[in-house]
Symmetry: C2
Subunit: 421 residues, 2 copies
């Protein structure tokens, strides 16, 4: 997508609110220093955020020799955001305030054979009602609901073109949800959700170029380039899990061979374990979560098989991550998602140790490799952040009185009217 | 680098001039339609380009029912641009007019043992003088000289940190050149040169996201993202040649193993040939150019060994290119540089046939794979384009009367004074 002055203005709005959330209370002067924007631009954007009720004045601080400076903070209760993580075996829904703190959480299991679109939509609708009720927020304060769905999703039409987890084909997910959920809806995939979560609340905040490596059942790389998420021409960038790492290597469900995912995703790590110890008691056939948890515990206990499997996995991962560092020359590489969280520091240490064999000295010296510092489910947080970005995108001067922005963000008109945004 | 409104303005200026070059004669209305910019913005930018003498009014066309529209064309003789390609064995210098047409060319061989910085600088200075004289342009009309140097170059300081070809370490190349060449100087590497060449005059023109795959002695990927070249945080993005393609595969000069470059760069292709036929008469040991040329001729003649080697090379390349398509989801992948040019269509066909085994259907459907259509040395053209971009960057409202922009673009003050730009 071509970037216009309007996009820049939206990006600046994101940046200012992000910085207010990170550093409340803060002053316009500090915001200008932190963002690199002019004081005049910051003042205009802060004015918009005050009008939207997302930011609030909280007092003054002395300024050496000058007028006292107004202090600003995020107006945490100025709106609520809901993030929905549709995974293979569960639907998780979290409600956040504008400080991006979780206020309520609901989770529903998805049993095999109960993953038809209308069944999943039913679970989501129930969970959304539940978190709104439990958090005690008025429905009208919910700025939007972001939905993360693995697979090929079209955020413009709200259609899930293909979801391998549940074998969905061309499901108009947002259209179905709009009949049950009375808030603006936003659809995207977990790769992008994790990337925006890092950008707003994690290790990519304040950086222009970052790669968020998602290690879960699938593997991918959320790309933060030029301070925004890179989506590609048909909204499917980031499918790093299907980069060839071992030519003619393990078969992959994509039809290829030797893809990064087949060595570093949860099923791939189970294969790494089988190769080291086919009859290991750590192996829970058919249960990725139990196997990864058992491996992670065994690594911490010094179990030699588990340590060997971690080393093998880190070696594969480091070869791939080294390639990303060479290609993007990013400021930070973030290891995210549940497999990275389960292994934690031992995985990070092993990857850091192995990456120099694969990355060139100059880009390596410019990069930090870190674990995601996001304390909650990054997919729910990222999905909620899509709703926040959607509200900010359609906001701005006079936005509260504008008609809704069109069918993309809002599959049906808001019952509360445009004043909600 | 953070993008500011000023960057957007510069990018828009590039875009308008690029479109004028592509479509002369054209009208402001057509430019607005082609660039997506407003007519008012186009009118302002065209005004700047007219002031700079880069664009000229060439008449009027009838407009159905309206006022006649002014027609614009690039003012080809409004300035000259020089591109310098420093390769391992030669120094090539080309002079272009503002329509990016070559007016003069000079080439000097670099013999082994004659590649000390002062020797190379001497060759460049001589060749620059030669092309200016042969093209018959006044020195004062030369807007700048772009220099492409393989290796780790710092475009901000003009220092070549490390050049493996000639074993240079921390050579202040632009500083040395500035003592001999009286034009603004710009340093960058061939990866970026080929990317901007495609962006201004090739297959990436008009696209936001493109990957320019450089196949030469080394291999890399120039990244066009969001309509501009992605450089990374320490200006070293694009080192795709050192992505692991075959874990624990062929040793690479970078210290790694199985890098893309070891299978698809010219020396790698020579190894591919050795594996198929160790004593092939096509093999010219120690001479990459002769071997690649012999292979390319033999492929066209249907020689089975050469066809097999081309197939193997395309298979390696397709695995890597498939990964780039999955990761970036670009509009176009361009095969560029001398190895791609030598093999031409047979390589393109073989890569196109093999890529679907490695790229996911959705990003594959959105991408075209093409040979570079740039008819001249893309490195010289790209280097010259750096000089054009430099002139446009420092231009704009009042720029003709501004002081030079600093030591980066102009290591020494222009003897002709700032009026030149």
């Amino acid at each position: 997508m071509r970037r216009t002055s309007r996009d820049i203005r939206t990006a600046n709005r994101y940046q200012v609110l992000r910085q207010v959330i990170a550093a409340s209370p803060t002053s316009r002067q500090e915001l200008a220093a932190a963002t690199g924007l002019s004081l005049a631009t910051v003042a205009t954007l802060v004015g918009e955020l005050l009008d939207l009720g997302m930011v609030t004045e909280v007092g003054f601080e002395d300024s050496a020799g000058g007028r006292p400076r107004g202090l600003l903070a995020v107006h945490a209760s100025g709106g609520a955001l809901i993030g929905v993580d549709l995974a293979e075996t569960y639907v998780r829904v979290e409600l956040f305030d504008l400080a991006l703190t979780v206020l309520a959480r609901a989770e529903e299991g998805v049993r095999p054979g109960e993953s038809r679109p209308e069944q999943v939509v039913d679970l989501v609708a129930t969970a959304v009602r539940s978190v709104v009720a439990r958090a005690g927020v008025e429905g009208a304060r919910v700025l939007g609901v972001g939905v993360s769905m693995p697979g090929q999703v079209d955020r413009d039409t709200g259609v899930c073109a293909y979801a391998p987890n549940w074998d969905w084909h061309d499901v108009p997910l947002l259209g179905l949800l709009a009949d049950r959920v009375d808030h603006p809806l936003h659809l995207d995939n977990p790769l992008r959700a994790c990337a925006v979560a890092e950008l707003w609340s994690g290790a990519a905040r304040g950086h222009e170029d970052a790669v968020v490596v998602n290690l879960g059942t699938g593997v991918g790389a959320g790309l933060v380039l030029g301070g925004g998420v890179h989506r590609g021409v048909s909204d499917s960038a980031g499918e790093w899990g299907h980069t060839t790492l071992v030519l003619d290597g393990r078969p992959c469900h994509c039809g290829g061979h030797g893809c990064v995912e087949t060595y570093t995703g949860a099923p791939g790590i189970m294969l790494n374990l089988r190769e080291v110890s086919p009859d290991s008691p750590l192996l829970h056939p058919g249960d990725q979560t139990a196997t990864i948890d058992a491996l992670a515990r065994a690594v911490r206990a010094g179990d030699p098989v588990a340590v060997r499997v971690l080393g093998d996995t880190a070696r594969y991962l480091a070869a791939g991550v080294g390639g990303l560092i060479n290609l993007f020359n990013p400021e930070v590489v973030v290891l995210s998602s549940w497999v990275a969280a389960a292994f934690g520091e031992p995985l990070l240490d092993a990857v850091r140790a192995a990456v120099p064999r694969h990355a060139l000295p100059r880009p390596l010296a410019a990069t930090r490799i870190v674990l995601s510092p996001v304390p909650t489910d990054p997919v729910c947080l990222g999905a909620a952040t899509f709703a926040l970005e959607g509200a900010l995108r359609s906001a701005g001067k006079g936005a509260r009185h504008r008609a809704p922005a069109g069918p993309r963000a809002r599959p049906r008109p808001l019952p509360q009217g445009p004043g909600q945004v």
